[in-house]
């Protein structure tokens, strides 16, 4: 917040330093510099109030200038028209402005965010308009002839004396503000009374004031002071330097400079100057919030998807034997090319096989890679015993090169490489998740999740309440970036790519809560489901597909794929109805239909049964089973309704506290005592029976 622990000592030191500066600066600095300092002081006091309001409640008041004007007018009128002493006038002005702040603040502070900002801006403008119209405030000519203040028989008329008047006030106000911020009472009062603090007696440019607070750092009392000095100096520099650099230019550049600084600070230094100072000061200490980057396995670059090697627990530890050759021999007729070879290759190792021409090196390679049958002995790659089947060896994730290159000469280089990826897409796993960690900010939700969804299968993830299941789907579909691990869609790494890109790769996520587009019609919802399809087609050459460019203009129901309406006939009669008016079950069907409209390869479903009547749940699950049975779509289903999910699924994973606790066929899971006790309530038995009755599950 404003100042952390030990902040009080820091504040005292800063105060002392500031006091010293206040005394010393006017003695050594030029008049111009001192004048600059005087104005910086004015702005600093004004900015303090804003800083309190913005920093405390995160609220923006753009009406501070209005309060400043009221304070200034009050004191000026008292002094000029009624001959009051400046000190008394200032005191009354503070009280009047504070009361006004209270009156205006009470209703306005009920507003939040943009509304407060705009309402306070409106207040400021009303003050300005009224002041310009009202005879009492001198209308457009304002109030002039204000004498220099005089206290104790001393008139403050030089810049230096003004400096000594203003800056002690800055110091006192800063100290008060710092205490107000820290104190308990101050905390409670802050919301209402901030504007009083700012009610000082000088009219100030609105945006300068805001800028100072901003530049200083919105949550920092010291920032207000720092920023004021900075902005004042900036303004001065701009007015001095810009005309020199650009002949004929004048004060307008100051305005541009302020605008740019204002925007740039938000973009580049969200914490303001003070945060920069603190960062520099704290650079020696380790930053508490930085977490070490997730350690990456050494085989990262080499490892590919799928295969039994990775399926169990990610990657083999360094030093694990991945190739065991035992007693391998190969005869060609009477020639013994390879004779009783034993060797072991572990991960992280390079093993060299040397020998003269004709020693049998290539033959051994052939045997290991399965191209040549061994006459005797065994070859084990990872856990797979290789028996002369090259594609099995490749599936166990052994790759080889050839002495005579064996390049596919008729294909491009890219195509050659693509062939190398054959296995990754052929793995059968449409979706492969490996060692996935994910969460929200620093809260880790998922730990080392690995799972597979083959094409044509429905895989259920069950588990108790808690964010794990939804987080898993959100991470797979790119709404959330994984903090570690990989997500492979059809063999291609997609982890960390944003959701809006994944839709075009054939992934459809039907989110929890359905999230239909409420004011758009059912037909439009379905049409938007196919949005990624049409963007893709449009890019890859215009006139492809019926309609071509004209597709952008929606023929109302042409777009809804027949399949969706056939699957969910209820939707057919409601195509023109706004989606928000559908029942919960119909919305769920629409959400699934919207996902299917993109003709996905992988469908992620988040709690499709949530909050629906048993009848509808059965209807939806029947539809899902039909989809699965068509063979090319992979479905990952997340459900709390474990029994219903396991009845239709081909395989299931049990998620517990963000980890895969158990995986297996529905039969295995349903037989597990723990699963039965934890996840299978009684209520769903009937639904399951109903689904079963339709013959939907395999």
């Amino acid at each position: 917040m404003i100042v952390g622990r030990g902040g009080r000592r820091l504040d005292l030191a800063l105060l002392a330093g500031l006091a010293l500066l206040v005394v010393a600066v006017p003695l050594v600095a030029s008049t111009q510099l001192v004048t600059l300092g005087v104005f910086a002081g004015f702005y600093a006091i004004g900015a303090l109030g804003l800083s309190l309001l913005m920093g405390r409640a995160g609220q923006v008041s753009l009406g501070q200038a209005g309060f400043l004007a009221v304070g200034a007018y009050t004191s000026a009128i008292l002094v000029v028209r009624h001959g009051w002493n400046a000190l008394a006038a200032a005191a009354v002005a503070v009280v009047v402005t504070a009361l006004l702040g209270l009156v205006v603040g009470l209703p306005l502070l009920r507003l939040r965010g943009h509304y407060l900002a705009l309402a306070t801006l409106g207040f400021g403008i009303i003050v300005a308009v009224v002041a310009n119209e009202w005879e009492f405030t001198g209308a457009t000519s304002g109030i002039y002839g204000i004498p220099k203040p005089a206290f104790n028989g001393r008139t403050y008329d030089s810049a230096r004396e003004f400096f000594w008047l203003v800056w002690p006030l800055v110091v006192v106000a800063t100290w008060l503000a710092a205490n107000l911020v820290r104190g308990r009472v101050g905390r409670a009062l802050a919301a209402v009374s901030d504007s009083e603090v700012a009610a000082q007696t000088l009219g100030v440019d609105t945006f300068r004031l805001r800028l100072q607070v901003l530049v200083g750092g919105l949550s920092s009392v010291w920032g207000a002071v720092l920023g004021a000095v900075f902005v004042q100096a900036l303004g001065e520099l701009l007015t001095i330097w810009v005309p020199r650099l650009i002949p004929g230019a004048s004060g307008e550049y100051q305005l541009i400079g302020f605008g740019v600084v204002l925007a740039a600070v938000v973009v580049l230094l969200p914490g303001g100057l003070v945060a920069v100072v603190r960062r520099l000061a704290g650079a020696g200490r380790p930053a508490a919030a930085t977490t070490a980057p997730a350690p990456r396995s050494r085989v990262d670059g080499a490892a590919t998807a799928g295969g039994p090697l990775l399926a169990r627990d990610g990657r083999p530890a360094p030093g694990t034997a991945v190739l065991r050759v035992t007693g391998v021999s190969r005869r060609f007729g009477g020639v013994r090319a390879v004779d009783g070879v034993d060797l072991v290759v572990a991960t992280g190792e390079v093993v060299a096989l040397i020998g003269p021409n004709g020693a049998g090196k290539s033959t051994l390679f052939g045997v290991i890679s399965g191209v040549i049958q061994a006459s005797a002995g065994t070859v084990v790659v990872a856990d797979t015993r290789v028996a002369g089947r090259p594609h099995q060896v490749a599936a166990a994730r052994a790759a080889r090169t050839f002495q005579n290159l064996e390049i596919f000469g008729s294909m491009t280089a890219l195509e050659n490489v693509m062939v190398g990826r054959h296995l990754r897409s052929r793995d059968g796993s449409l979706l492969a998740v490996d060692g996935l960690d994910a969460g929200y900010g620093r809260i880790a939700v998922l730990h080392e999740i690995s799972l597979r969804v083959p094409a044509g299968e429905m895989v259920a993830v069950i588990g108790a309440n808690g964010p794990g299941k939804t987080t898993l789907l959100r991470t797979i579909s790119g709404l959330l970036a994984p903090s570690r691990g990989r997500v492979l869609l059809d063999g291609a790494e997609v982890g960390g790519r944003p959701a809006e890109q994944l839709a075009a790769l054939g992934l459809a996520h039907v989110p929890e809560g359905r999230l239909v587009f409420p004011t758009l019609s059912v037909a439009d919802n379905l049409a938007l489901g196919a949005y990624s399809l049409r963007r893709r087609r449009g890019r890859s050459g215009g006139a492809a597909g019926p309609g071509g460019p004209r597709e952008r203009f929606l023929p109302s129901r042409w777009i809804a794929p027949d399949q969706v309406l056939e699957l969910f006939p209820r939707l057919a009669g409601r195509l023109d109805q706004p989606a928000g008016t559908l029942s919960g079950g119909e919305q769920q069907m629409l959400a699934i239909g919207r996902g299917l409209a993109a003709r996905p390869r992988l469908l992620l479903l988040d709690e499709p049964s949530l909050g629906l009547a048993p009848m509808l749940v059965a209807e939806i699950f029947r539809a899902l089973a039909r989809l699965r049975d068509q063979g090319d779509l992979g479905i990952l289903l997340v459900e709390q309704n474990a029994r219903a999910a396991l009845q239709v699924a081909d395989r299931g994973y049990v998620l517990e506290r963000g980890r895969v606790a158990l995986a297996g066929t529905p039969g295995e899971l349903l037989d597990d005592e723990g699963v039965r006790a934890a996840y299978l309530g009684r209520g769903y038995v009937e639904i399951a029976a109903e689904v079963e009755g339709e013959g939907a599950p395999r």
Partner: protein, 289 residues
């Protein structure tokens, strides 16, 4: 009676302009949750570009189109340079950010076009009388152009896939991303739309009230009042809100005090905001969920 009718006409004309500016507030807010305080400057720049284009010898309509396109492009640049890099910032930061943009644009206008007010010529000279009410061709131009913009927007949001994707992105951003709609792209589109609508407003009002570097403040704020009167989420509502505000302003200017006219808009804003604190638009956001 004639006085009242005349005041109503003036109010509707000014209100149409506020409504067009308000449309931009809604477009940007709906997709990004940002109130763009540079909206008024977009309007001013539209008029200035049109004035310069006219000065360069282009016909009025072409010059106006140039102004609209230039500002739409500028708005996209603003989105990319200032808004997009700060994605995920707090409301406060966005307010200050767009304020900074507005100040910079204001200063740029001051530099390029100077401190004196300028005006576009009206579409045609002369006046006509309708039952004692004086109507100028420019009045008609304002109404026709506003209706045209409204029709184009209606067609865009109701008839095109991109328009519907825009609405989807405003209503359910998560689901929109899941079907492949990029919020970043929609945010740029929102700024382009907002810039174009504001530029139309600035160009329309320029022959009636001089355009100067600082006239964006009131245009922008009144556009915001128009948008928030309608709940910040409805584009037709923003135009209606603008018309309502224009009429209230015009009537209070005519019957109370013309000097206080500008304060009235903000008084209306304060009353509306305080009576329905923070939530003029909560009602609509809940539809059907």
């Amino acid at each position: 009676m004639v006085d009242l009718a005349q005041l109503l006409l003036t109010g509707l004309r000014e209100g149409a302009v506020y409504g067009l500016v308000g449309v931009g507030f809604v477009a940007i807010y709906a997709v990004t949750g940002i109130i763009n305080l540079a909206q008024g400057e977009f309007a001013v720049l539209g008029a200035f570009v049109a004035i310069s284009a006219l000065g360069a010898g282009l016909p009025l309509v072409v010059a106006a189109l140039a102004g609209v396109l230039a500002v739409a492009a500028l708005a996209v640049v603003v989105e990319r340079v200032a808004i997009a890099p700060a994605r995920g910032s707090s409301t406060v930061a966005y307010i200050i950010l767009t304020l900074g943009v507005s100040i910079a644009l204001k200063a740029a206008a001051l530099l390029v076009w100077g401190a004196d007010g300028r005006a576009l010529p009206a579409v045609a000279e002369g006046t006509m009388q309708l039952g004692g009410v004086v109507i100028t061709p420019q009045d008609l131009a304002v109404f026709v152009a506003t209706a045209l913009v409204a029709a184009v927007l209606y067609g865009f949001f109701e008839r095109t896939l991109t328009g519907k994707a825009f609405r989807a992105c405003a209503e359910q951003q998560v689901a929109a991303r899941l079907v492949g709609i990029s919020p970043a792209r929609m945010s740029r589109l929102a700024f382009a739309l907002a810039g174009a609508a504001a530029a139309v407003a600035g160009i329309l009002v320029s022959p009636i009230e001089l355009t100067s570097w600082d006239s964006g403040l009131f245009l922008g704020l009144k556009g915001f009042v128009a948008a928030s009167l309608a709940g910040m989420v409805s584009i037709p509502g923003a135009i209606l809100g603008g018309l309502l505000l224009g009429v209230v302003e015009s009537l209070s200017g005519g019957y109370v005090s013309s000097g206080l006219k500008d304060a009235v808009a903000f008084f209306v804003l304060l009353v509306v905001l305080v009576l329905r604190p923070g939530g003029v638009f909560t009602r609509q956001a809940k539809v059907g969920v």
